[in-house]
Amino acid sequence: MRALVIDDSRAMRRIVSGILEGFGYEVRQAGHGREGLDVLEQGWVPDLACVDWNMPVMDGLQFVSAVRANPAWRQVTIMMVTSESEHTQIVRALAAGAHEYVIKPFTADAIRDKLALLGLLPEGASL
């Protein structure tokens, strides 16, 4: 399975990528939403996109809207991974088309639980 991790923090990209790789994902990274769209436009369409909210150039919400506007990317499951924890922000992200929402700080267990809920925990990844 493929995952695209989009976050402007290199440290956070490495943390999330490390967790997903541990579950068996093939992972690519992008530093903001526009870079993430570039990856999709190049034909590398992931099963899962983990997206931060506050980023330069293109924020997470704009990325979610852009992905949802393209029917060719309908199968991409989007999980917001962000420090934005206000209820109104969560509702906005879900209304725009995100499937799940993980608030920073998080644990690997929290990511694993969300993936299990989404049916995106690869076979062999321990629960």
């Binding site: 923090s9 290199r10 440290a11 943390i15 506050n54 109104t88 920073k104």
Partner: protein, 174 residues
């Protein structure tokens, strides 16, 4: 006739009530040190390491300080600032990067890690302040000047015996 009576009986509008309600809330009424400590503790456990604790004790003044911060704009305006010395910042970056940390850290990695810690703490501080608010992107450098004592909530802690501060602070001069 009714309108005329109402006009005569209504108190004169001096604007005082509007000014009172429009005034930005004071941080001391919204947040306390225990809340900030709890948010920082949680960020440390999740990002820095499961065995990493912030001991609520002030240390020696930080020499060679470096700060990271995020601004909050909303009913309350200010910044959440994390300050430590550069050696501590490098150690924090190594903890965040874990096995991905290179032998020699790039200064950008240090800034990035410190900025992300401020971002995570700031996002959770924003959640307990009145909203809606907007969180800015992390910045790293010399800390912005703090606001007055009633508009600052600061914790002094020790991490691995090294001093570190987390300050939620209104703008200077406000």
């Amino acid at each position: 006739m009714y309108q005329e009576q109402w006009l005569f009986s209504a108190p004169a509008d001096t604007g005082e009530r509007r000014r009172r309600s429009d005034a930005a809330p004071l941080l001391a009424e919204l947040l306390d040190e225990a809340t900030v400590q709890g948010i920082a503790d949680e960020a440390w456990l999740a990002l820095v390491g499961e065995a990493e604790v912030l001991v609520p004790l002030p240390g020696e003044p930080v020499t060679d300080p470096i700060s990271s911060w995020v601004e909050i704009v909303g009913p309350w305006n200010g910044a959440v600032v994390l300050t430590c010395d550069r050696t501590t910042a490098e150690e924090l970056a190594r903890c965040l990067l874990r096995e991905h940390a290179p032998d020699v850290l790039d200064p950008e990695d240090v800034d990035d890690a410190l900025g992300e810690l401020a971002n995570v703490i700031g996002g959770n501080v924003k959640a307990v302040l009145p909203g809606p608010s907007v969180l800015g992107l992390p910045a790293v450098g010399a800390a912005p000047a703090p606001g007055g004592p009633t508009d600052t909530c600061r914790i002094d802690v020790l991490w691995r015996g090294r001093p570190l501060t987390v300050s939620v602070q209104g703008p200077a001069g406000a």
